[in-house]
């Protein structure tokens, strides 16, 4: 193949027909960029708009004659935004709630997934279906009666209220069960001969081997619950337990669109932790979302 093509390519630039041909190949190879580049610019424009606005002055936002970029960078918008509401407390609450959910979920799904993947017991199929049912009915479908339950439990407006509905995860159990089933049974047999019981096998053999799945699940769980809006909105009513998204929503409501610069500065603060992690661990994030559920 290569030897056949070489003479043509060598002689091609000599003629004008050759240049045209080269141009056409270049175009054919790169035409996708002409479609994707504008699309990509459109996709990132909201993010760009957030950042640009967060550095503008208030008059620039409403002035149709002002340029797209701010004349002077208004870094002062950031401290101003942070001063309106206790964002430090929101941040701590977000970390505690998301971390709490993640730790609880990892424990429950690990145990349940091992049972479904490696143990035999009556009612296995029915129970597994019940677990999968949860995927179909997330908090958005059950928030009303769950609110009543949480209220009856007397944990409204507290950290546990933010966590409890998410402790068990049908999706996580399913994902991890699939991963456990990929582990060769001979490894479990070898571990039994090496003196491990079920929990020993789970801890020493299964968990180290499914680390990629655990990381993928953790990333998805963190992204989901860090951004949760509806449930925290319903069960929190004081600053001491509110999370970042709720705080941001409140700020938007109180400003009612009057002060976009301050609001966008706050948005940058709320959005940046995850986006920073995303930029740093891009491969991991992309892989996690890419392959979750495909295995």
């Amino acid at each position: 193949m290569a030897t056949l093509q070489d003479p043509i390519e060598l002689s091609a630039p000599a003629t004008s027909r050759g240049t045209l041909l080269a141009l056409r190949t270049a175009l054919r190879r790169n035409w996708l960029h002409f479609v994707l580049l504008p699309l990509m610019l459109f996709w990132i424009s909201p993010l760009a708009w957030i950042i640009i606005t967060s550095l503008k002055s208030r008059t620039e936002v409403f002035d149709p004659n002002a340029g797209i970029l701010p004349a002077v960078l208004q870094w002062g918008n950031y401290p101003a935004a942070m001063a309106v509401a206790p964002f430090g407390t929101y941040l701590i609450n977000s970390v505690l709630a998301t971390g709490g959910i993640l730790v609880c979920e990892l424990i429950t799904i690990t145990l349940a997934a091992y049972a479904f993947a490696r143990l035999n017991f009556p009612g296995k199929n029915i129970l597994f279906t019940l677990f999968l049912l949860q995927i179909m009915f997330p908090i958005y479908a059950t928030f009303l009666t769950n609110f009543v339950t949480v209220r009856e439990l007397g944990i409204l407006n507290s950290l546990p209220a933010l966590i409890v509905p998410f402790v068990a995860s049908g999706y996580g159990t399913f994902m991890l069960r699939q991963a456990f089933r990929q582990v060769p049974t001979e490894l479990a047999d070898a571990a039994r001969l090496d003196g491990c019981g079920h929990l020993g096998i789970l801890w020493h053999v299964y968990l180290p081997l499914v680390k990629p799945t655990l990381i993928a699940f953790s990333i998805i769980a963190v992204v989901t619950h860090w951004n949760d809006y509806m449930w925290p909105l319903l069960v929190t009513n004081s600053e001491s337990v509110r999370t970042l998204p709720i705080g941001l929503g409140l700020l938007a409501k109180s400003d009612s669109g009057a002060d976009w610069t301050r609001l966008m500065a706050a948005t940058v603060v709320v959005v940046s932790p995850l986006l920073l992690f995303f930029v740093i661990f891009q491969r991991r994030f992309v892989d996690s979302f890419m392959h979750a559920g495909l295995k």
Partner: protein, 358 residues
Amino acid sequence: MAEVVLQGVSKSYQGKPTVHAVDLAVADKEFMVLVGPSGCGKSTTLRMIAGLEDITAGRLLIDGRDVTHAEPQKRDIAMVFQSYALYPHMTAYRNMAFGLLKTSSLSKPEIDRRIREAAEILHITHLLERKPNVLSGGERQRVAIGRALVRQPKVFLFDEPLSNLDAKLRTHMRGELKRLHKELGLTVIYVTHDQIEAMTLGTRVAILSDGRLQQVGAPMDLYMRPQNTFVATFIGSPEMSLLRCAMKPNGSGSVVSHPAFTTHVPERADAGEILLGVRPEEVIVGPADGTALACGRVDRTELIGSEALAEIVVGADRLVARTPVTKVPPLGAEVGISFDMERVRVFDAASGRVLSRL
């Protein structure tokens, strides 16, 4: 001392029996090979000995102790798996140490000493800090054997350990295993589907088929004196030819008549159908004249190095004969054949069992 005794050991899955009352005694320092076609129950039997499958009925004794229902780690055994089952996230060293750390109260230096010693024997000292994924098939095999050695168990169980290696390496590791067995005086129970592996490795070989033990004996014994047609055809390559004949008692022996020939055998039984078992080297090929027992036509010949095999049609049957390369009969030729009547054996056609010689 380490003896393994199976007494009527059986296994059923959901009511379906897969291993039928196996009785087997493995002596101390013996290399016992369990061999049979796939699905014959040999692996299940080994896994029952290991404690990885529970025993549905019967008893298992290791060193006189009843371990029928004991946990695997309490049986004083070690196992080498077909896929080696090395923990991928641990180094070779950790793989070998893991079981000792979990089950024994040995001190760290003692564990280290055992690992170094085993590594020395297996020539893997330079690989100890590596993880399985960077090791070759043969190296993984050695680490897996090392993991069993450091346990210093009473019995070593091997589940088709060579089947994932290429042909050359397999021959080499066969030699290694033989050397280890002899030098270290190990008691080994070894499962394989490869009859050549069974014959070269085993001090004794147990042949299984359909979950039943067919015959146990030294390799040569199985080859020369198979108890039934299954063992007769399973052992030996190319396999034994079976010629269907009628038999009638006559004098001290019997007369055997085949459509192509009639002859006399020393076995005695009631009149009926029998199968005459002849190994390729027991067929004597000569000119088609009066001196031969029967006449046949050469249908196919095959050169296998120092010798040749000839497939000869005799009546409705075919049989394989081994001949020197210089005397290969031409294709289609009529040849005379005779048998080494001292060695041929007679099987009952209905039960497949061998008829005893008086």
